[in-house]
Symmetry: none
Subunit: 534 residues, 2 copies
Amino acid sequence: MTDKKKISILDSTLRDGSQGEGISYSVQDKINIVLALDELGVTFIEAGNPGSNPKDMEFFIEAKKLQLKNSKIVAFGSTRRRDLSCAEDVNLQSLLSADTEYVCIFGKTWDFQVTDILHATLDENIEMIRDTVAYLKSKDKKVIFDAEHFFTGYKVNPEYALKSLEAAVEGGAVCLSLCETKGGAMPSECKNAVEAVASRFGSKVEVGIHTHNDCGLAVANSLIAVEAGASHVQGVLLGFGERTGNANLSTIIADLQLKLGFECVPQENMKLLTPICKRIAEITNIALEPGMPFVGSSAFAHKAGMHIDAVIKNPFAYEHIEPETVGNERVFLMSEVAGKSMIVEKVQKFDKSLTKNSPVVAEIVKRVKDLEHEGYQFEGADASFEILVRKTMGKYQPFFNLHYYKTSGEFPRFSDDQSAFAQVKLDVEGTSVITAGEGDGPVNAMDTALRKALVQFYPAVAKIHLTDYKVRVLDGKEATASAVRVLIESSDGENSWSTMGVASDVIEASYIALVDSFEYKLIKDLERKYSRII
Amino acid sequence: MTDKKKISILDSTLRDGSQGEGISYSVQDKINIVLALDELGVTFIEAGNPGSNPKDMEFFIEAKKLQLKNSKIVAFGSTRRRDLSCAEDVNLQSLLSADTEYVCIFGKTWDFQVTDILHATLDENIEMIRDTVAYLKSKDKKVIFDAEHFFTGYKVNPEYALKSLEAAVEGGAVCLSLCETKGGAMPSECKNAVEAVASRFGSKVEVGIHTHNDCGLAVANSLIAVEAGASHVQGVLLGFGERTGNANLSTIIADLQLKLGFECVPQENMKLLTPICKRIAEITNIALEPGMPFVGSSAFAHKAGMHIDAVIKNPFAYEHIEPETVGNERVFLMSEVAGKSMIVEKVQKFDKSLTKNSPVVAEIVKRVKDLEHEGYQFEGADASFEILVRKTMGKYQPFFNLHYYKTSGEFPRFSDDQSAFAQVKLDVEGTSVITAGEGDGPVNAMDTALRKALVQFYPAVAKIHLTDYKVRVLDGKEATASAVRVLIESSDGENSWSTMGVASDVIEASYIALVDSFEYKLIKDLERKYSRII
């Protein structure tokens, strides 16, 4: 038991979130997301509209088989159609057949939407709300009423907006969820409207909030609503959704639970917040935004040298919470403004006995500074940094040596998807290997030739996929002859890593980054095999 | 004149924003960002710390030559060191030599930071603040005092936090900018602290707010501070910065100006908000987040079928503002029907008689859509867009035609600064020309060969310098064989222009962008010569 005020969290990743650009879930994806959200411990998982498409219905059948620890699955639908009874309304019947304890029903509360979009009279809409909620209650459902456009409605016709809520309460709804559908409300508007609803209906039903981020205020408006009397918060764990997205629940849960003293999920689960967000990003096939509050990879990243010294002296000096509280970690970014202490922290992962005064640390600092002066920027290339540290510490042996590479490219291209050749000569484990490859551009051709040579000796090279490739010219003044920095992200399906190369020739810079990527994978495989730092 | 309350906006893209992961600007990038921010019309541009690195000092020398319409450039530094007088403090002397009307000085206001990080006594810190501000004032500077960690300081020791502000006011600061450095303050804390400061110092100096997004509240806390009496807002136009980023000024400006009735930039400039954000994203070489409020490409994107019908019936039904107000456009994701008005606006520069219904406009819209689908993004490449419009309108004749180019590159390089050859064959004014060149990488070699061929016919080509060259891979999934977008900035010493090429081969994409650049210069020279649109 806890004496903290409990907030019920409704996650709508699978319903409102799936309206986001480029987001689409299979039934198995949905099941995996339900399991992740249940592990985190949200109260409700709004999982789709069984009346709107057969995939959602299939999901509800599968979902019945799950044994959830914390969460209840909610089916979503709308009030009955104007010209049908509830029993005749196919969508409502689908909703019932989803067989969930809770259902969420949206209805109109803004007079303009009733008359101009729904083409119903204001009284008809009130009847539709009361009637639908009462019908569902008679079928033993607990009904959450989503008051669509409530904040716009309350602004232009507060009397009607409240009357529509009254109808839901009379019908027997257990919760009134006030939807900020257009995302345009300012904090003070939000506060006043929620206070009005809480004071009128708060003794009979739970009051909820559902916001969108069109003015960058979805999180703030949710917190303000809770302080104004709401105890049910709807959103999407990673904040995606139509337009600018839904309220980001990972931020809201952390703010409410760690800053404002409410309980949204079991306290011991707070440390799952970052891993669960990462898992849901993977299932959704999107990159988790590095700057996302609490859970992003940069959320506790420090760059400026002065700050880093201070953070190491005392994390409290520059961090508002301990990153471990939400399962995230502190990161020190490599950069021209960074001091020595950050390098020590990274080097200690290899050898705990090293300190600021160890000669090898001074040597690494010097190498980093020299390379940064050439244009390297290790903050984005952890794998290249690790290889640099290994080289300086004598914990590195090359897997191969380059004699030469030659590339050629031409326009018009010699085939639809080929415009270049490359040839490489390597020494690999004492053997001289010459291979050639074609490609779409010289870098791609060289990548092909290099892999051909290496895979004979190191089959793991075949597993490496390049997932991103970025080029930046470092000094614009000499333009096409300036130094270029190439950043490559690689993956073997399980792990991903980033490497970097700098040279005045983009092919050479790409070669350097490619070699680091291949070697990093081979080193990690050996480490795993021998379970030691080689 | 306007009777709206004026808010002074300080953009710190070039100082606090450049602390963001992976962000690094050349001096030319910085100049381009200053010009963009000035065009938008922010009051202050905080442009760097002249004491911290020589690149920033070089920028301030260049920046003096700019004729800005709206904005003032601000140099940033800290209070004098504990053990030095202001005249002895090298950083303060660098700050003065930046020669700006306004300077921004940060100082400690949280007692713990004074004693445990700065290792000064509380009284010493008060002296350092008063002394530094007074010294700068005596040198005719207007001083903005950045009260670092003010909100944490005010929470743990309000008396000392206010005393440190008092010292800045006594020293003669014109503005007290309250910094929410750790990003951990909740809206109500923020409100109470700003109200306390405004009531105590608001009659003597301007009160400002500077927030970070660690709790997802940077925008909300800025708005709440303004409602509590602040009239100066600091942030970063696109919201990037260390950790979770700085307050996003594009959102704050839109909220304050369109929703809350304040004036942050000239009203007629609000429609520049989206194009300027896109331009700054291009200069920074980052993708503008599609879901960013107001300015993201998805900010007014509609997906759900029901919503689109309603939006077509009446945009007011689902949109909180008209997208055109901020220079953005409505997008329907399923039908891909986008707004024509932006294109009409640009085409009218050539021919004022053209309207939305002119057939040539429809043709240009179609070409733009096709090219955007391939990966072009004309916001960052005005010269390429102009050439596209000319081509579609029949106002274009090629200056030359390409038969072929061939490039080759090798490692080890054949000389210190040469690693590649290129050969081109062109038809120029009826003559067949074959030239070859060497270079540092194949793109540079091709640039050399192309210029050699063209300069015989068009001597002006010799005046074209490429000032920047950027490459971005558009679809990370196929890595080195993905489509790449090359963005080139060129200058002839008087004007500068940007062009773009997209292809799967980086050399081909560079070729396309180079040709646009050369042709644009030649067209502009002819225009000037004949004073007419050719």
